[in-house]
Amino acid sequence: MPLAKKTLWISVLVLWALIFNACSTSKNVSSSNSETISDQKADQLNKAELEELYWARIDSSKMNFTEADVEFMTGMIGHHAQALIMSGLAPENGASPQVRTLAARIINAQKDEIATMQTWLRDRDQPVPEVHIDGLNLMIHGAGMDHSGHMKMAGMLTQKQLVELSEARGKEFDLLFLKYMIQHHQGAVTMVQKLISTDGAVQDEQAFRLSTDINVDQITEINRMKLMLETIESEKKD
């Protein structure tokens, strides 16, 4: 085809296109980018290498801990376990719905944290305390700390206090539960404070996160419990 004719035909086509464009529907058939993701087969190997590096990093990051971190985790497992015993009493001791919800949340939260702390210790080849609860009796097996060691931790209830709590009913239980749980939580906050003021401690990301979460959650809960306690006490006066 001679160039002239070709050009003409092109101009005709262009005009037609213009006409159709001017009046066509707005239906837009965009050339959708069907090619997704940058994980094409080409960098499969790359990904495998990355994955290997990832797990190596995770493993080596677990080696950045001190004796203080281990002591904190080991101790806090026992500390949390006593909160489980206390909270477990709520349904049968006629606690108010408010206190029962609180107790249920404490059980849920502290059980999970116990599991996390056990994993933390296991991952670092440290002795892992196993918790056994039999009524009011707490037994911790498998870690270097004996029963009396646990009982000496900040905020722990004495066995006498535990029995007292287990014998309280209804409103009396609510009051005593809140009072003792505040004491117990304050002990946990003290333990965190002690940890963070130890040289070299909490450089480990997980330990930092766990101790900070425990600190914040328990302070929040202490405040809530103080408020509940005051409400109950003021009702009592009326």
């Binding site: 160039l3 002239a4 050009t7 003409l8 101009s11 005709v12 213009l18 006409i19 001017a22 009046c23 066509s24 529907t25 707005s26 239906k27 980018n33 090619e35 997704t36 993701i37 940058s38 994980d39 990904k47 990355l50 994955e51 590096l53 990832y54 797990w55 190596a56 990093r57 995770i58 990051s61 609180l102 849920n108 939260a109 999970d112 944290e113 996390t116 994993t119 404070q193 963070i196 003021s197 040289d199 070299g200 909490v202 450089q203 990301e205 997980q206 930092f208 996160r209 766990l210 979460d213 600190n215 914040v216 959650d217 302070i219 929040t220 405040n223 809530r224 103080k226 408020l227 005051e230």
Partner: protein, 667 residues
């Protein structure tokens, strides 16, 4: 040139062609009156009261893997998935900020800058190694702000951590970078704070173009006084200088950001809970008398007499010594007498008059504060409370309202509706490292709570929690998200850690509904490995997720009966120059055909217009879009006039009318 000459050789032929074309043109587009209706496609639209989500939920039972986990996705399309740069791999990816075409991703090892001009292929621009958790990031102009909270962050960005409990090398607070050249951020300043910075929010006050303000929330332990002078870990009752019960406000002069400094530490929690006052017990009174007898300083604060701690008394004495030009640390008898006389006045002057702030039982810090400067409000998520703050005076935020909720464990963050009439708070139960989306975990715990704001008071409406149960190998709880600017609706995209990404509509605050999601299987099958989406935000059409373990994921919405393509196009007509999700921008929609069509789709979905009217509106909009500007204006004006007659108090019809008129006036 050559072409023209050749064409001119056959004038008759080319003239014929042009005439033919002209005839065709006038045939198809001539008169409006007899204009043929343009074909259009009606989108598939369904009511939100009857959402057909995939069943059984494909998010349940997904196979584990780091880069090869099974994945479930609904009404979203994944555009890219990019692993972290090597030095950042295996270290937590955290929050996101956006500037121009860049996504800035925090990581506990520093900051990663991505060019996301092509969302299907993000390009690494800079990986800046400077460890500190959580590396929460924000931008303003040429500045970038990064949070440091953990004990191992260093002033020199070193990776070796800080091995002593008290150290001059530790950074806990805000790092400031100049990102004029984003490929080479320049570390220009830092502001140390007593509790470090877990998160922060940048406030650009509409009335102040010379400064920005950074609100710092810290939740970790208070630094020892020996590390950062003035940090006090006692309750404010014991020492009014306490680092607890307050946030920090940093003022950053834009012309001299190196001079950034704390300008106030508002105690926005003051008097939050006013327990019944019991006064001093007899034993306390006796202790007070003994303390006085032993020479302790006392002062009146919050309605009762208190004993001043020795450290605080010494600081007060030094203030007095300084006043008379003496040597700090060497008080004379006259100084101690002066302090006894002036203690109460000095304390009250220092701490905002004191007032009756006895017995602080409220929160002592915020986790995060979302600032919405255009409406002058902020939502503070502060331990056991959600606060509504007035931020019209940026350095002095004041609390307007506070709500508590027994189902909420730990208030984490806030998102306002675009009109500021609703606010959504999240509850990061368990701190984000725990699996709180198991079948047995209540749907009210670790969820969002939606409030309406009426006359400055927040009123609870409903909870929303990502509905697919997750395994105990997956950390999962409500986390960061942002609005997607679909006009006329509140649609939010939100991270749930390993619970994935959930897109939900909360236009009706009593009935939040999920309309899209994405979820990976666990990072590891046999252990709880930290992972999942930390933050996911909409930015100029892209839905960008910071995946804790896997890197950067980018999605876009796919049209579906619950969000039509018109609604997506209208959302994407909003263009932001930058985004910090905790400094919420007010969305303004340009008048586009997509906007008007989106409203029509919504009117059909909510059955607020009958089908005939919906079709009429769609036909008119299609005709107008195809017409030339003059005709277009006429069609649009006619449509707006017709709609005016039908509005009869319906807000959405009014919005449609307004958008059509706006479109007409643009012609």
């Amino acid at each position: 040139m050559k072409k023209n000459i050749q064409i001119n050789k056959k004038p008759a032929f080319s003239l014929w062609i042009f005439l033919l074309a002209g005839a065709l043109l006038s045939f198809s587009c001539s008169s409006t009156e007899q204009m043929m209706d343009i074909e259009y496609t009606s989108p598939n639209v369904s009511s939100l009261s009857n959402v057909e989500a995939p069943s059984p939920d494909p998010r349940v039972g997904l196979g584990a893997g780091l880069f090869d986990a099974e994945e479930a996705i609904w009404n979203l399309k994944k555009l890219s998935s990019t692993p972290p740069p090597k030095d950042f791999l295996g270290v937590t990816n955290s929050d996101l900020a956006f500037k121009e075409n860049y996504a800035i991703q925090g990581n506990y090892n520093g900051v990663v800058v991505w060019d996301i001009s092509d969302p299907s292929n993000p390009v690494l621009v800079k990986d800046y190694l400077c460890p500190a958790s959580q590396s929460d990031v924000s931008v303003y102009g040429n500045l970038m702000f990064v949070s440091g909270e953990g004990y191992s962050g260093r002033l020199d960005c070193g990776t070796e951590g800080v091995q002593t409990a008290v150290s001059a090398e530790r950074l806990r607070g805000i790092r400031i970078f100049d990102i004029t050249n984003i490929e080479e951020p320049e570390y220009i300043a830092n502001v140390q704070t007593c509790r470090g910075s877990h998160t922060h929010s940048v406030l650009k006050d509409p009335n102040d173009d010379e400064n920005v303000y950074v609100y710092v929330s810290g939740s970790a332990g208070v630094r020892p006084e020996e590390e950062l002078s003035g940090c006090v870990n006692m309750s404010p009752d014991e020492d009014p200088n306490s680092a607890l019960f307050r946030i920090e406000v940093i003022k950053v002069p834009l012309s001299n950001p190196e001079a950034a400094a704390i300008v106030s530490s508002p105690r926005i929690f003051e008097n939050l809970e006013e327990p019944p006052s019991h006064g001093l017990a007899p034993a306390d009174k006796q202790a007070m008398e003994e303390a006085k007898a032993n020479g302790a300083f006392t002062f009146e604060f919050g309605g009762s007499e208190r004993v001043m701690s020795n450290g605080f008394a010494m600081r007060m004495l030094n203030v007095l010594i300084e006043e008379r030009g003496g040597t700090a640390g060497e008080p004379t008898a006259a100084d101690t007498t002066a302090l006894r006389e002036r203690a109460t006045a000095m304390v009250n002057e220092m701490f905002g008059g004191g007032g009756d702030d006895s017995g602080r039982k409220g929160p002592n810090q915020c986790h995060d504060i979302t600032l919405y400067p255009e409406i002058g409000l902020a939502g503070g998520a502060c331990e056991g409370y959600g606060l509504l703050l007035d931020i019209s005076d940026p350095a002095n935020p004041t609390r307007i309202d506070a709500v508590a909720d027994s189902n909420f464990s730990y208030w984490h963050s806030a998102t306002f509706s675009n009109d500021g009439k609703k606010v959504l708070f999240t509850d990061e139960w368990g701190g984000g490292g725990q699996p709180k989306c198991r079948e047995s975990d209540p749907m009210e715990w670790g969820a969002n709570a939606i409030f309406t704001i009426e006359n400055g008071k927040m009123k609870f409406q409903e909870y929303y929690k990502m509905p697919a149960p997750q395994t105990s190998q997956e950390n999962c709880v409500a986390h960061n998200g942002s609005l997607i600017p679909v006009p006329g609706r509140e649609i939010m995209v939100q991270s749930w850690y390993q619970g994935g990404i959930s897109v939900f509509d909360w236009t009706d605050p009593n009935n939040p509904v999920e309309i899209a999601f994405q979820d990976y299987g666990p990072v590891a099958a046999d252990q709880m490995a930290n992972g999942g989406s930390w933050s996911v935000y909409w930015y100029n059409g892209a839905i960008v997720s910071s995946e804790i373990a896997r890197g950067l994921d980018i999605f876009e919405l796919e049209a579906n009966p619950y969000i039509t393509q018109n609604e997506i196009d209208a959302a994407n007509s909003v263009k932001l120059d930058y985004l910090n999700a905790q400094g919420q921008p007010k969305f303004v929609w340009p008048h586009t055909f997509a906007l008007s069509k989106a409203y029509v789709d919504q009117l059909e979905r909510n059955k607020e217009l009958d089908n005939t009217t919906v079709e009429m509106a769609r036909q008119s909009l299609a005709n107008a879009e195809a017409a030339n500007p003059k005709v277009r204006k006429k069609i649009l004006t006619e449509l707006a006039d017709k709609m005016d007659g039908m509005a009869s108090g319906n807000e959405k019809v009014k919005m449609l009318t307004e958008s059509v008129r706006g479109l007409a006036s643009n012609q």
